[in-house]
């Protein structure tokens, strides 16, 4: 069966162990996690997890059902029509061409967010695929460190 990429949001009770239950489920049943982000939902006792995974149709169906089965899981959304964003921070040496980097960042919804004595940090926030392009382009300026956030998504 053909493998597909899926973005799944899980709304869970914001309680101890819940991240371990979700990650343990993936580990124990041999499912893939490409990225996972989690943060509390404002003014609730809930957290929102966004998981990017891949697998064949049966695997994806099982992932969704098994997530549902977790007692603290409130809602599982298999995204179809979504807005997804990922953020990346990249550190460059201070000698880098700042104007070029600034221009590059602008193309990917970002900018230079910090400049120190011997380095600068640039940021971009965009779709996962475009973030990959941004990182590709940034490589020519010899980045020192790259940190990606993982995807967050919202159904339209």
């Amino acid at each position: 069966m053909e493998k597909v990429r899926r973005v799944i949001s899980v709304i869970v009770a914001n309680e101890a162990q819940v991240l371990a239950r979700v990650s343990g489920l993936f580990a124990g049943r041999g499912y893939n996690i490409d990225s996972l982000t989690v943060a509390p939902i404002p003014d609730t006792q809930l957290s929102h997890m966004t998981i990017v995974t891949h697998g064949n149709r049966r695997v994806i169906e099982q992932i969704v059902k098994q997530l549902h089965k977790l007692i603290p899981a409130f809602k599982v959304i298999e995204h179809e029509q979504m807005v997804e964003k990922e953020m990346v921070l990249i550190k460059f040496p201070i000698e880098s061409p700042i104007a070029d980097i600034q221009a590059l960042c602008t193309a990917y919804n970002g900018g230079i967010v910090n400049v120190g004595t011997d380095m600068l940090i640039a940021m971009a926030a965009d779709e996962q695929q475009r973030i990959a392009h941004f990182i590709e382009a940034a490589k020519r300026y010899h980045p020192i460190e790259i940190v990606r956030s993982g995807v967050v998504a919202m159904e339209r």
Binding site: V12, A13, A16, Q17, A20, R21, G24, G28, R58, E61, Q62, K65, Q66, H68, K69, I71, P72, A73, F74
Partner: protein, 564 residues
């Protein structure tokens, strides 16, 4: 009312109507044991190993349909209980296991007898809790019982730090549970059920595939009535033995690796599987690409994750199998023509006549199958039969005439050796008026043999029928068939003196070497009123047949084994 956390645990157990708790004390759970000492509302049975405590609670739950409760201490007490949790988890048995934990301030410091109980048990419990505050304790206890018995049942662990059982708090036991994130669905979707009924009416060779879920859901009566009304034949899984009733003409037999020829052929040739609380286990399906190639599938299961997990399903129905079958019966009553499936029933009957389940009896040596048949003749529908895991388990499943659900208790999913004896103790405690037999082997019985002492102390007269072939029989069988008879570490010729062993622990033992002796020993064992070993010397090299070799197609069965 103000009380200690330990008292709260006891109060919750009482409020849930639990009559017997199985357990083993230790440092971190001592506060609770102190409260157990002070009360008379429930009984505590001290097993001699924590694993046995959980299996006993499990046997109690399987035989009575109630939630089983076990109690253990932290660290090794808990890790010993893990096999019991995993066993119950695989077979969806409702248990609440309470474990002590080091005090909150010591958690994470590698304290004495500290282990991450919720971390270890996460994949083998339906849900688990580490109690972090006395305020949460009453709610957690209530939720634990609710989660264990509702939906697809399963074991729940409540891990309680010692300082919380010692702390005083306000106790109000909740009347009900409100878990917005957990809403099991019992009623199936009517439109889906209707479609399924239409499919049944159109099918030419429909087959009821009856699984353990029908036992858990107490749906046997409804399933029998549905089969009776429609005259659709049925196969049972290992976990469902007894649901249809051994003498039911519609029961084709047990399906799967050691299922009957007719049952496996039925599964291979049916054009519509009606799966009732079964989960298409690999021991049932055999090679998946060859499994039920001509069949559409109706899959009724309370756990949506079971549906579509192994096979593609044409008519998925999420719901309680008893409720859904009742609805199907109502919808199909006026419309079904039972004669429609008579050709199909005749085909299956001919398959059964072609290769009936059987064995070649002998006058020189006792055949293990004979022992099971004899037990069936003697005890029939009254006894509760538990088993361990291996050849004896399969022979018991094949040859005992199970008449009702909850009569047959075995570790089907996890396949836990050492399960049978403590489970039998639990079953006997829950059903004091029933004869309880543990059909076991000379390998399995030694795992948890220490429970002889428990059974003797509490006067629980469980009879262990040891089908003794001086082998780890099932592994030996595979070595014979698939490993050129290299009997690696399966020869159990060095044996204890079984009679003496039973007697040393306060029980009674009998060595059986002939059929006559077996009858005498069984009579004597029942009359003794003691926990017993019936050490039955059986044919060393008898094999469990038919057999679908692992990974083979269900219809390719080994029906006999001839020495080359």
């Amino acid at each position: 009312m103000k009380m200690s956390g330990a008292q709260m645990v006891c109060e919750a157990i009482i409020a849930e109507g639990v009559r017997t708790v199985f357990g083993y004390p230790g440092g971190a759970i001592m506060n609770v044991y102190d409260e157990i000492y002070k009360q008379n509302a429930f009984r505590h049975i001290l097993t001699r190993h924590e694993q046995a405590a959980v299996h006993a609670a499990d046997g109690y739950a399987r035989s009575t349909g109630e939630v089983g409760v076990a109690m253990v201490t932290s660290g090794p007490g808990f890790t010993n209980a893990v096999t019991g949790l995993a066993t119950a988890y695989m077979d969806s048995i409702p248990l609440v296991v309470i474990s002590g934990q080091v005090p909150l301030s010591l958690i994470g410091t590698d304290g004495f007898q500290e282990v991450d109980a919720v971390g270890i048990s996460r994949p083998c419990t339906k849900h688990n809790y580490l109690v972090r505050s006395i305020e949460d304790l009453p709610r957690i206890l209530k939720e634990a019982f609710y989660i264990a018995r509702s939906g697809r049942p399963g074991p729940v662990l409540v891990d309680i730090p010692k300082d919380i059982t010692g702390e005083i708090g306000e106790f109000v036991y909740p009347e009900s549970v409100d878990l917005p994130t957990y809403k099991p669905r019992y009623k199936g979707n009517d439109r889906q059920i209707k479609k399924a009924v239409e499919a049944i009416l159109k099918a030419k060779k429909p087959l009821l595939y009856v699984g353990g879920g029908t036992v858990l859901s107490n749906a046997a009566e409804g399933v029998r009535a549905f089969a009776e009304l429609t005259q659709i034949p049925a196969v049972e899984t290992l976990m469902a033995r007894g649901v249809m009733g051994a003498r039911n003409p519609l029961l084709v037999g047990m399906v799967g690796m050691h299922g009957s020829y007719a049952a496996n052929m039925a599964m291979s040739e049916t054009d519509l599987i009606v799966s009732l609380g079964a989960r298409f286990d690999d021991r049932v399906t055999g090679k998946l690409s060859e499994f039920a190639r001509y069949a559409d599938i109706i899959h009724i299961d309370i756990d949506p994750a079971n549906i579509g997990k192994i096979v593609d399903v044409d008519y998925p129905i999420v719901g309680d199998v008893g409720t859904v079958v009742a609805k199907m019966t109502e919808m199909i009553r006026e419309r079904v023509d039972p004669d429609r499936y008579s050709v199909w029933r005749d085909i299956l009957k001919r398959y059964d006549e072609l290769h009936p389940l059987g064995y070649e009896d002998s006058e020189e040596v006792i055949k293990p199958q004979w022992v099971i048949e004899r037990l069936g003749e003697r005890l029939g529908g009254d006894a509760i039969i538990t088993s361990d895991v291996g050849q004896h388990q399969m022979w018991a499943a094949q040859f005992y005439p199970f008449d009702r659900p909850r009569q047959w208790i075995n570790s089907g999913g996890l396949g836990t050796m050492g399960f049978g004896f403590p489970a039998a103790i639990g079953a006997k405690v829950g059903n004091p008026d029933k004869t309880v037999i543990n059909v076991t082997g000379d390998g399995s019985i030694l795992m948890n043999v220490q429970e002889l002492v428990t059974a003797a102390q509490y006067g629980v007269p469980v009879i262990n029928v040891i089908l003794n072939n001086h082998f780890l029989g099932m592994v030996r069988q595979w070595q014979t068939f698939f490993y050129d008879k290299r009997y690696s570490e399966t020869d159990l010729s060095f044996q204890p003196d079984w009679k003496a062993l039973a007697r040393a622990c306060g029980g009674e033992g009998y060595d059986v070497e002939s059929k006559e002796q077996f009858d005498e020993a069984l009579d004597a064992a029942i009359a003794s009123g003691k926990v017993c070993f019936l050490n039955v010397a059986v044919d060393r090299f008898e094999n469990v047949l038919p057999m679908v070799p692992a990974g083979g197609a269900l219809y390719n069965m080994l029906l006999e084994h001839k020495e080359k």
